[in-house]
């Protein structure tokens, strides 16, 4: 693992940086309870569509404060969501600040937060129309969006390997039947398949059930194309001389498939895994965007964007509402670069 990271750093700096960006995003997701200054569903009725509170070190008198601070924002025009920045009221930002008691990762109680204010509010990315802190919703939303991607991909790949591997190795009738089934799956346009599968289940499911359902639906769509490719690779690797030699040595079928054949698909498959995670993240975002995925009040980066649909005014008056789109973009592009970089590193000729 260390070796792979080192090689990435040397050969492909962007991939190396992307790896750390992704790791950071997952870190945010895991530590959301600690990092987010407010609960994701806490509504501040006095602060709807509040713009991001800027962090200052210098006050209006150009005096330097060691401790960063924000100003108090006051809503002056509810109809137009206009705010006045009260530059007299300095609200310092404290770290490891005490706040409301809540459970961290569902394990233990704590009332400490990474940062927060004692007076005034700190909305790093502004608020939505219900007055909920977008920054907090982003880090909580990361949990959904990032985990669904990984789980969906892993399930697809597990299915793809299993079915593709069997089909490719045994060939003949088994191969024929399995491939025809795979082709039926591939024929369906994935977007509509996704919608119909979702529609087949009641709209009002508990959020946890919806979460699982989305994972299942996404992997349901993705495994077929993968199975076909793995099967193709297995078919050709099966004829390679070192596989024949393994057979001649008397190794069991199981050992041949798992020690010789499957590892030689890794150069493609690990790269493909990394490159398809973005698709799964987008799939979840799309479902949530259309209201078929994670429901309010739970945040996902997709459903945070859904409020902007049909409401283009938002773009001009409250552009910070689109920031979840930026995070989706950042995640996808990082996975893309990482996948590219991994492709080179996993070639044994470079070891």
């Amino acid at each position: 693992m260390k070796g792979i990271l080192n090689k990435l750093r040397k050969k492909n700096l962007i991939a190396f940086i992307s790896f750390w960006i992704i790791l950071f995003l997952y870190f945010l997701a895991i530590t959301a309870d600690f990092i987010a200054p407010y609960p994701f569903n806490k509504q501040f009725r006095n602060y709807p569509l509040c713009p991001p509170t800027k962090v200052h070190f210098f006050d209006k008198n150009k005096k330097f404060h060691l401790r960063p601070f924000v100003y108090e924002y006051k809503l002056i025009n509810p109809a137009l969501n206009q705010y006045e920045i009260l530059t007299e009221k300095i609200c310092p930002i404290y770290f490891f600040v005490k706040g409301e008691r809540r459970k961290i990762l569902g394990l233990f109680y704590s009332d400490r937060y990474l940062f927060g204010t004692k007076e005034g509010k700190i909305f790093l990315f502004g608020t939505d129309m219900h007055g909920r802190d977008i920054f907090s919703r982003i880090v909580y939303g990361a949990r959904i969006s990032l985990s669904i991607g990984i789980l969906g991909v892993l399930t697809s790949f597990f299915l793809g390997f299993l079915i593709g591997g069997i089909s490719g190795y045994f060939g003949g009738k088994i191969d024929n039947i399995i491939m025809r089934i795979v082709e039926i799956f591939m024929v369906f346009p994935s977007f509509y398949l996704m919608l119909s599968l979702r529609a087949a289940f009641p709209i009002n499911l508990s959020s946890f059930q919806v979460y699982l359902l989305i994972v299942v639906i996404l992997s349901f769509i993705g495994w077929a194309g993968l199975a076909r490719i793995i099967r193709g690779m297995v078919l050709s690797i099966k004829e390679e001389e070192y596989v024949l030699a393994a057979k001649a040595l008397g190794l069991s079928t199981f050992k041949i498939i798992f020690k010789h054949i499957i590892p030689n698909t890794f150069s493609y498959s690990i790269t493909a895994i990394t490159l398809s995670i973005p698709g799964y993240i987008l799939g979840e975002s799309t479902l949530s965007l259309l209201g078929l995925g994670i429901q309010e009040p739970y945040p996902s980066w997709g459903n945070m964007l859904s409020v902007c649909i049909g409401n283009l005014r938002i773009l001009s008056t409250a552009p910070w509402m689109l920031i979840s789109g930026f995070f989706i973009f950042l995640t996808i592009i990082s996975f893309n670069f990482l996948g590219d970089g991994l492709r080179d590193v996993l070639d044994p000729k470079n070891w």
Binding site: E241, L244, A248, N264, P348
Partner: protein, 252 residues
């Protein structure tokens, strides 16, 4: 002399499908041979003659379509793979392309260890011993195939074949992809190993000159059939089949 292999009426066909038609290619036809223990049985032919297929079908790496194969009087043609596995240790194979016959992801020592029985320590020791025997030093045990030259890779492949203590080895053009000077080294190695371990070889090549040097008997193959079979000296002095004559005339 003990008969190690007996092959009766072996047949193997391939179907090639192009966009418009199916073509049947006969890889092996009417193959009847016996291989005696301790001999070097040479097979010569050009591309498409079926000589490589013969080697692979004999030890059932490829399944024949018709015919019977007997290994020491046991018919192995129809035994299910899981029973055949027990016998596989007795007959091994070395391929032509040293760049493709080793798994690029497995270190050379481990590749040789795969066929050895025993605990990890015993396996490692035996693997080091066999590699030494073929001329690969202990320090290179953990290197990957791409770190070796062609000749060295072929030696590792030979070590792997020896790891199961076989009686019989199919040598499928083992020197064709090597430089001339390395070819000589490998051929010498084959002869030394044969004497040391009392091996029997099926030696497949397109180069008659090698067979003249190493083979006791030669089978000449053409379009899937054996057109001539006999002792090396006889065939080379008095060829009876026109194709054999043509081969001999083409020798430079």
């Amino acid at each position: 002399m003990e008969i190690l292999w007996k092959v009766e009426e072996l047949k193997k066909e391939y179907e090639i499908r192009t966009e418009f038609k199916k073509e049947k290619i006969i890889a092996l036809k009417n193959i009847n041979i016996e291989i005696f223990k301790g001999e070097v049985f040479g097979v010569v032919g050009e591309s498409g003659s079926g000589k490589t297929t013969l080697g692979k079908v004999l030890i059932r790496l490829i399944e024949p379509d018709e015919g019977k194969i007997f290994y020491k009087n046991i018919e192995i043609t129809k035994i299910p793979e899981r029973f055949l596995r027990r016998y596989r240790k007795n007959f091994q194979i070395i391929f032509q392309d040293p760049y493709k016959s080793l798994n690029p992801r497995i270190r050379c020592g481990y590749a040789v260890m795969e066929g050895i029985d025993g605990n990890k320590k015993e396996k490692t020791e035996k693997a080091i011993e066999i590699l030494n025997l073929v001329g690969i030093k202990k320090e290179r045990f953990y290197d990957y195939p791409h770190q070796f030259s062609g000749g060295e890779r072929q030696r590792i492949a030979i070590a792997r074949a020896l790891s199961t203590n076989p009686e019989f080895i199919v040598c499928d053009e083992p020197t064709s992809n090597l430089d001339v000077s390395v070819q000589g080294q490998i051929l010498n190695l084959f002869i030394d190993l044969k004497e040391k371990f009392n091996l029997t070889y099926l030696f497949i090549t397109h180069n008659l000159k090698i067979l003249r040097f190493i083979a006791d008997r030669i089978a000449v193959m053409f379009k899937g059939e054996i057109v001539e079979l006999g002792r090396t000296e006889e065939i080379l002095k008095n060829p009876s089949h026109p194709y054999t004559e043509k081969l001999l005339k083409s020798e430079i």
